[in-house]
């Protein structure tokens, strides 16, 4: 081999990308990892916010995987560019607002840009034919290679022997026989390979790594677009959709109600940008009001905030309401009974 070849591996933090990178490293390839932050990543966020999840390890799994592999990881903020993937996916959505195929095309394309800038030779992903229902269907793997522009510089080491040889295989940078032929939804081959390498503590996200695959999250994003009259978002919008109970009692505003101490503390970071309310006569959550409310709406919001306070069964609760201008006004209200909060208010 006349040159020490270099590959950039898309590292999600899950098992497949960990193994894919390792299989390529075993062939003497210099591998560095790349991880894209879209704003929709499940990774860490809700666990970091919610106090009840504090027993879980507070680590970014992509960083952890890179350390297990002994490689560098480059974290790339793609929040702005990714909006077009979410808002106008060419290949449409999956079961919810998950644009999985467009997402993969986009990320491999960004990895290609990075590869060309840094003088790397090819791209590695942990894709497995048939593992996922949309982006990893056999018919869609060539779509990712073609539309990303990576073509035969995209190597899927875990299922490579089920696919046509790529450039690194044809050129002898990689021995095809040492790549794998995984296929289908079973996780057993990956778990066996992990055991072979001695990887024991790896992330196994139950609901995938992206909030857009979550039905309830997608409903909240749809509501955001519908009420604003445009399909757009800022980072704060999509972060807040991950936190608290969201109730829309009328078209003009919704309430974000902290569910526990960790969420209340997180919401505090936003309180100067929203009308916010907090019970002062009883313990209770911080509530943000997103939108515009008239006097009647504010009173309704205060009654809902009172419903989620410790005074929910009392005759009156006093709620301190602070406007965006900092003006403070107290509302002493009767908590809205649960029976008067219709299920459709919950997003």
């Amino acid at each position: 081999m006349s040159k020490h070849h270099k590959a950039v591996a898309l590292i999600s933090g899950g098992l497949d990308s960990l193994l894919a990178a390792r299989v390529v490293m075993d062939q003497g390839i210099h591998v560095e990892g790349i991880n894209f932050f879209t704003g929709f990543c499940v990774e860490g966020h809700t666990h970091a916010i919610r106090k009840q999840h504090r027993a879980r390890p507070k680590r970014n799994n992509a960083l952890w995987v890179a350390e297990q592999l002994g490689i560098r990881l480059h974290l790339i903020d793609i929040i702005e560019e990714y909006k077009q993937v979410v808002i106008n996916p060419r290949h449409g959505y999956g079961a919810n607002l998950n644009p999985c195929l467009d997402c993969k095309v986009f990320m491999v394309g960004k990895a290609l840009e990075w590869m060309n800038t840094k003088g790397f030779d090819f791209i590695v992903t942990g894709e497995v034919i048939g593992q996922r229902p949309k982006s990893q269907r056999r018919v869609n793997l060539p779509v990712v290679a073609r539309e990303s522009g990576a073509h035969d510089r995209l190597v899927r080491p875990l299922c490579a022997r089920n696919l046509p040889p790529t450039l690194p295989e044809r050129e002898g940078w990689l021995e095809r026989d040492k790549l794998l032929a995984f296929n289908g939804r079973s996780r057993k081959p990956q778990m066996a390979l992990a055991a072979h390498y001695g990887f024991e503590d790896y992330a196994q996200p139950a609901g995938g790594c992206c909030f857009l695959t979550d039905r309830q999250y997608s409903q909240k994003l749809s509501d955001l677009w519908q009420t604003r009259g445009e399909r757009n978002y800022e980072l704060d919008d999509i972060m807040l959709l991950k936190v608290g109970r969201h109730l829309r009692p009328c078209p003009g505003f919704k309430l974000i109600v902290g569910r526990e101490e960790g969420e209340n503390r997180y919401l505090e970071g936003y309180r100067r940008r929203y009308v916010h309310m907090i019970p002062v006569s009883h313990p209770g959550p911080l509530v943000l009001l997103d939108g515009e409310a008239d006097a009647h709406g504010l009173e309704l919001a205060a009654r809902i905030a009172a419903r989620f306070s410790k005074g929910r069964d009392d005759a009156e609760v006093t709620i301190e309401v602070t406007g965006k201008d900092g003006a403070v006004r107290n509302y002493t209200v009767s908590p809205l009974p649960s029976a008067q909060i219709p299920p459709e208010w919950y997003l």
Binding site: N35, N60, R265, G269
Partner: protein
């Protein structure tokens, strides 16, 4: 030798790491970056990122819910 502060309070990981990474890329070996955070995940993630990129965590302090991590930029070459 430069010393700069990155305010990553109320950002959740990996954003504090990304903001740190972007700041470090503009500095030189020996410079210092002080990162202010509220996400406890940084206590793992920033040292992890530093180890793999050859930077040094010079100091870590936690007061109430605020975390300050000081990094000395290493020789990336």
């Amino acid at each position: 030798m430069n010393s700069v502060t990155v305010d990553a309070r109320y950002l959740l990981c990996p954003l504090p790491v990304i903001r740190t990474q972007d700041q470090v890329a503009r500095l030189h070996p020996g410079d210092f970056v002080r990162v202010l955070c509220t996400d406890p995940g940084v206590l793992h993630d920033i040292p992890s990122w530093c180890r793999m990129h050859g930077h040094t965590v010079a100091d870590t302090s936690v007061a109430d819910d605020e975390i300050a991590i000081t990094i000395q930029v290493g020789d990336r070459g």
